[in-house]
């Protein structure tokens, strides 16, 4: 019976494995990443692209040293981070400092996860009010912006020149439509953007929606319908590719990078990538329907301090946040992230270093917070109905009017 010896050996290995697993379960406690007393402070951010050798992580470590604490940092995927933050808060395991995308701030504040800047004595006086508003809810401020971005139109100089379009003339929708017609007549492609069924789609649609004078409180106004019709007509006339319905902003950028498109609606964060394009590009603000610059939504993250059981931890956290949002560090961070700084002083420095950023500083200055107008946590519900309506209209399953009317009634019901 040769199997007998083998059997004992296997059993032994199996037992050892069980013991190892069980032992690990029993012993290694106390390795909590946040909450515990002592000199270790947890920071969570949505920048998983930065590893431990990056300037960003070095900055975090340095700010920790300055505040007399050790920093443990974790980078999460943005979409993951909201759920993770809620879950951690539920289990009383919130990080000491949390950096989140701005429209999430009102949700987390509503959940009671975040402290107010008043409570933790954070100074927000230098921040531009339109950027800070995205972190405000019910008259209270829940964090400090670390950088801002917004949307504008990138254009391909060669394509416009070949079609005989002067970018300076593109100051309203009529001029833009005429330019798109010329470009497509010249055999090139018109414009690419992202209309995906997520917050990204709403983010990209808002400049057109607001630019026609529509308000988020009434989606199916004639102005709102005009904005959806603008996009729908682009698809119908072949001025924009059908793929936009499923495009993320990255996909849309890749389409622009192929060199065939005249325009791409994209964000400040692409400025660094734009240098790698194999062609000359320019940037113009997104035009309003009847002229002027359309208000684009503000993007970018907020540094927040989540609620802790031990309130004495706030002192060090406050030092960390102040360090991260000090002028010198903002300049460094926003340069790596390819963002615009949230304070006028640092914005001036950025433009001095890189005059190309002027157009973005202006765009950020004209931008609007999505959760503003006291929408707060109602915004996510309205936004969801809005992107659904845009998708329904673009894919041809509903008319712009019908899609928005339905979205409005659904949004009204959801925000009641």
């Amino acid at each position: 019976m040769k199997s007998f010896g083998r059997r004992q050996r296997t059993l032994g290995v199996a037992l050892a494995a069980l013991v190892a697993a069980g032992g690990a379960v029993a012993c290694s406690s106390g390795d909590s990443s946040g909450g515990a007393a002592g000199g270790t402070y947890a920071i969570w951010d949505p920048y998983p692209q930065f590893d431990d050798s990056s300037a960003w992580v070095k900055l975090l470590t340095k700010c920790g040293t300055d505040a007399g604490v050790t920093v443990t940092r974790t980078g999460y995927d943005t979409t993951d981070l909201t759920n993770k933050a809620l879950l951690a808060a539920q289990q009383n395991n919130s990080p000491d400092v949390l950096i989140v995308d701005n429209p999430v701030v009102s949700t987390l504040a509503e959940a009671g996860v975040l402290t107010t800047t008043e409570e933790t004595r954070l100074d927000t006086s230098a921040m531009e009010p339109n950027l800070l508003s995205a972190g405000q809810s019910g008259g209270k401020t829940y964090g400090v912006p670390i950088g801002a971005n917004t949307l504008a139109l990138y254009y391909n100089k060669a394509v416009l020149a070949a079609a005989g379009v002067d970018p300076a003339s593109l100051t309203d929708w009529a001029a833009l439509n005429a330019a798109l017609a010329k470009v497509t007549a010249a055999g090139k492609k018109g414009i690419t953007f992202s209309a995906i069924g997520t917050e990204e789609g709403s983010f990209q649609f808002l400049p057109w929606f607001w630019g026609s004078g529509a308000q988020l409180t009434k989606l199916d106004s004639p102005e709102g319908v005009a904005a959806v019709s603008l996009w729908t007509d682009w698809l119908k006339k072949g001025h924009a590719p059908n793929s936009v319905i499923n495009n993320t902003q990255t996909t849309s950028w890749q389409e622009f990078a192929s060199g065939d498109f005249a325009f791409a609606e994209n964000g400040t964060w692409q400025v660094a990538n734009a240098k790698k394009l194999g062609f000359e590009y320019g940037i113009i603000a997104i035009p309003g329907k009847d002229g002027g610059t359309a208000p684009a939504p503000t993007g970018g993250e907020f540094v927040t301090i989540p609620v802790q059981k031990q309130t004495d931890r706030y002192t060090a956290s406050q030092k960390l946040v102040t360090c991260l949002t000090s002028s010198d560090n903002l300049l460094a961070t926003d340069t790596t992230l390819s963002y615009i700084a949230p304070t006028a002083t640092v914005q001036a420095k950025q433009v001095a270093e890189n005059p190309e950023l002027k157009v973005w500083v202006d765009a950020v200055g004209a931008a609007r917070g999505r959760t503003g107008d006291d929408l707060g946590t109602k915004y996510p519900k309205v936004s969801e109905q809005m992107w659904k309506a845009v998708q329904a209209a673009l894919s041809g399953s509903k008319t712009p009017q019908a899609a928005l009317a339905e979205a409005q009634s659904a949004a009204a019901a959801a925000t009641k």
Partner: protein, 324 residues
Amino acid sequence: MSSSTQTASRDLAAREPARPRARPSRRPAGGGTGRWAAWAFLLPLLAYLIAFYAYPLYRNLDLSLRDYTVRSFVQGDAPFIGLANYREVVDNPTFLPALTHTVVFTAASLVLQFGIGMALAVFFHQHFRLSATLRALFLVPWLLPLIVSASTWSWMLNSEAGVVNTFLGVLGVDPVNWLTSPDWSLASVIIANVWIGIPFNLVLLYSGLQGIPPQIYEAAALDGTTGWQRFWRLTFPLLRPVSAITLLLGLVYTLKVFDIIWIMTKGGPADSSTTLATWSYQLGFGSLLPQFGPGAAVGNLLIVAALAFGLVYIRVQRRQGGTA
């Protein structure tokens, strides 16, 4: 050990496969000790189930019966509201389309995966040159994280720059808006899901085939049966227990699928590829403001659906006497 294996083959070979055997007394003799032993063998599983499934299961039920807002989720003081979440979900205009899409998605995926998987299993069972290697390569899609395989599919099915439309163009077919047209989006996610499901069906059915002793086929070959008859009269009936469990598991996993659809279409456009599973995810985790309650309610409706099919499976299994 060796003798017993051979006994097994001989025994299997000896019996008439198409006719299920009558088995009046299935309980093993031994009474008390047998029962104790049965539970002793189950013990690790039970411990595991209680330790790690009980809480999530309870949690899923609890989420669906309380009025969870983000605030009460964190603070843990959500009021009990009974079945209100379920009522809300069923009354929602998304419910009916989501239900229909779930039925279509599941039925189409199951039939195609199982059919193709069976054909491939029979094909690869013939032991030709490279058969083992090629069969192993069929599993490679399973090594990829879903986020990658689903993204690759949406890449290939892109309306403008997708390689599928390029091939269609070569064949003279007009490009199809696979992911962006409400008429095609459901078909597209079914294609991708079938692709992901084929290896699963192939492996299970293939190992089922390996359990059938070759002597049976040799006997049948003497009788002069054709390949097709051999499949229907011998292989298929003998594979019935494995087929049943493959279909049942396939059903459970297909009902649950959300990530492929989510990555490829987000359930859109205009809810045209929303299933109950994607809707559940959309409600609970897909927006900036999670609605855990209704999300969990939709998830639990899916569990009930799977249970109904589980009951059918167990009844069928009982009627067939457990073995064939």
